[in-house]
């Protein structure tokens, strides 16, 4: 089959690789009909995530048709159309039973590697380095899905791929980010980053009863996309002083909740942002945390800072003293995708949201390397790329 393989920083290639096969009784093989490039794939592309190997197949946002199932998979049949959560969960451990699916104890075969860094390992992830299990990803014609009796979620035929594809990651991720804000109704939520996760965090905040949402970015088309719902306020941080604007917008009170949908490759125009850039460029730091610093500074006393943006390593100049002084609550983590699927599918079916609004580019799998470059460089007003591996390739 054809698959998109990682070969080095800024080097991904479409290659012919062996087809996946059933390895365990709870596996399924999915023929991929649609797969997306995630902002977190760019962290791999840019070399921020450790433990990669040449030839690793990338991709963790994918859906398709079940073509083969293992002997213990009872809930699926060949021909079923499913979306697949990017977090791999066994369904039987303490964390799965607590609905903390992305913290599954049993799905990372390289858990001991992650434990050396973090003490404990999170779940395995598709196509996201060997630290998360080394599972081949879904930017391919076929993909093997472990614990297929737990993860894959059947979707109705009436909905197009583009309506449901983002249930695999970014819609639940945006939703969990908003849910982590603990909204009770009427709050002001500020969102850093208007990439796809930021867009879904904004829509989810509205769905969960926010009274006002302020979106922060520097890319005009992304700000425009955020504002296109007719009620989100937008701030371009290259034009305005974000902290002052947020203070003014909230009558000196500060936003009740702040969402960092940027993560470890933040850009900024302030001194600390240039300092971060210099340190990561010279390999003296792993993560650039300008957006998170600003969210902590901007948040009102006693508020919540919710972090769906990915962080990988150690943060420098992290204002924990500020967070402490203001008694902030920080919530974060990989998304417990499984938990959100029925509820969000419901929203889509009822027409509360059409997730396809973030898509700016559609391409074949062969064009994926060009799309990675385009997406990374934010050229051609690119916000979200969907790849369609297309018809079954000749074997």
């Amino acid at each position: 089959m054809k698959a998109l393989c990682w070969h080095g920083r800024g080097d991904v290639r479409v290659e012919r690789v062996p087809d996946p096969s059933i390895l365990n009784p709870r596996d399924a093989i999915i023929e991929v009909t649609s797969t997306a490039i995630c902002g977190s794939d760019l962290h791999l592309y840019d070399g921020f995530i450790p433990a990669r190997k040449r030839g690793d197949i990338l991709g963790h946002e994918f859906m398709g048709e079940v073509v083969e199932i293992g002997s213990k998979v009872r809930n699926l049949r060949p021909g079923d159309r499913v979306v697949v959560p990017f977090t791999i969960a066994c369904g039987g451990c303490f964390f799965c039973r607590e609905q903390l699916w992305s913290l599954c104890d049993n799905s990372n075969p390289n858990a001991s590697m992650a434990e050396k860094i973090a003490g404990y390992s999170g779940s395995g992830l598709f196509g996201y380095s060997h630290l998360y299990g080394g599972y081949p990803g879904g930017q391919a014609e076929y993909v093997r899905v472990p614990f297929a009796d737990v993860g894959p979620f059947k979707v109705p035929d009436e909905l197009l791929d583009e309506h449901v594809l983002f249930l695999t990651d970014i819609f639940p991720t945006g939703c969990m980010a908003a849910e982590n804000c603990g909204l009770r109704g009427g709050e002001t939520v500020a969102v850093w980053g208007c990439g796809p996760v930021g867009q879904f965090a904004i829509r989810s905040a509205w769905l969960l009863g926010a009274g006002r949402v302020v979106a922060i970015d520097r890319i005009p088309e992304r700000l425009q996309m955020a504002a296109s719902d007719g009620r989100t306020d937008v701030l371009n941080y290259e034009d305005v002083d974000v902290l002052e604007e947020l203070r003014a917008l909230t009558d000196g009170h500060g936003p009740d909740a702040c969402i960092d949908a940027v993560g470890l490759e933040a850009h900024g125009t302030t001194l600390d942002a240039w300092y971060d850039l210099a340190k990561t460029r010279t390999m003296m730091a792993t993560d650039r945390s300008h957006a998170l610093r600003q969210a902590i500074l901007a948040c009102r006393k006693g508020g919540v800072v919710s972090i769906p943006g990915v962080y990988a390593g150690l943060l420098d100049k992290f204002p924990l003293g500020t967070a402490f002084a203001k008694a902030l609550t920080l919530r974060m983590g990989q998304t417990h995708v499984h938990r959100y699927l029925p509820k969000l599918l419901d929203h889509i079916e009822r027409g509360d949201i059409n997730p396809s609004f973030v898509i700016t580019h559609r391409a074949s799998l062969d064009e994926a390397p060009d799309m990675y470059r385009l997406f990374r460089d934010k050229q051609d007003e690119c916000v979200k790329v969907v790849l369609e591996p297309g018809r079954r390739a000749a074997h």
């Binding site: 066994c90 039987g92 395995g124 299990g133 080394g134 062969d366």
Partner: protein, 241 residues
Amino acid sequence: MDKSRPAQAGSGGHDTFRPTVGQLERLGALTAAAALVAYGASRRSPQGAAVALAAAPLAFRGLSGHWPGSSRGDTRRALGGPRGSHVREAVRVERPVDVVYGFWRQVENLPRFMHYVRYVTNLGNGRSRWLAAGPGGIDVQWDAEVIHEVDNRLISWRSLADADVVSAGSVHFDPLNSGRATAVTVHMQYTPPGGRLGSAFAKVFGRSPEQTVREDLRRLKQILEARELAASGAHVRGGRA
């Protein structure tokens, strides 16, 4: 040959003969004894006779597996006080204690999660025979007996005489979360028999015996909770599209 050792290591389903550490060592001792006798005899002198006589303890060791007068396999002597290595590891399994205990008690299940254990044969009466993979394709073997067992609570064991690895240990099963989960705690002591073949067993256990036991317990947990061992399926790929 000692009758407790199978001539073929393949009785547990292995098709190739792999000598154990004990067998290799005995072969070495016998070869050395034979060489000394041959050398001594070739001298045709009192000194030569003395050399040949000196081969006697080696020959004894080669035939019996231990030096004259020593008593190998006594777990109390081998592991008492500061002797031997100690390992303690625990894991939480989200399954009731009777399920976890029942699984462990079937000794044939143990190689499914104990990485280096090639097979365990139930000999009856609480006795079992173990064969584990060692470094350089050399196996280590020992017999063990259960010395104390409390249903759904505890199993403790020790190795029997002539073990390549003298060991003793226990595994405790404690109910957690109103019986919905189980804490499995392994205590183990072992000693690589005095300096033989560079402490083969220590190498079997790699640099960290704790890590080996921890990984074994992780696999136990995966089998019981997830009903299979996670596998990434990642493999080397090549070729261009």
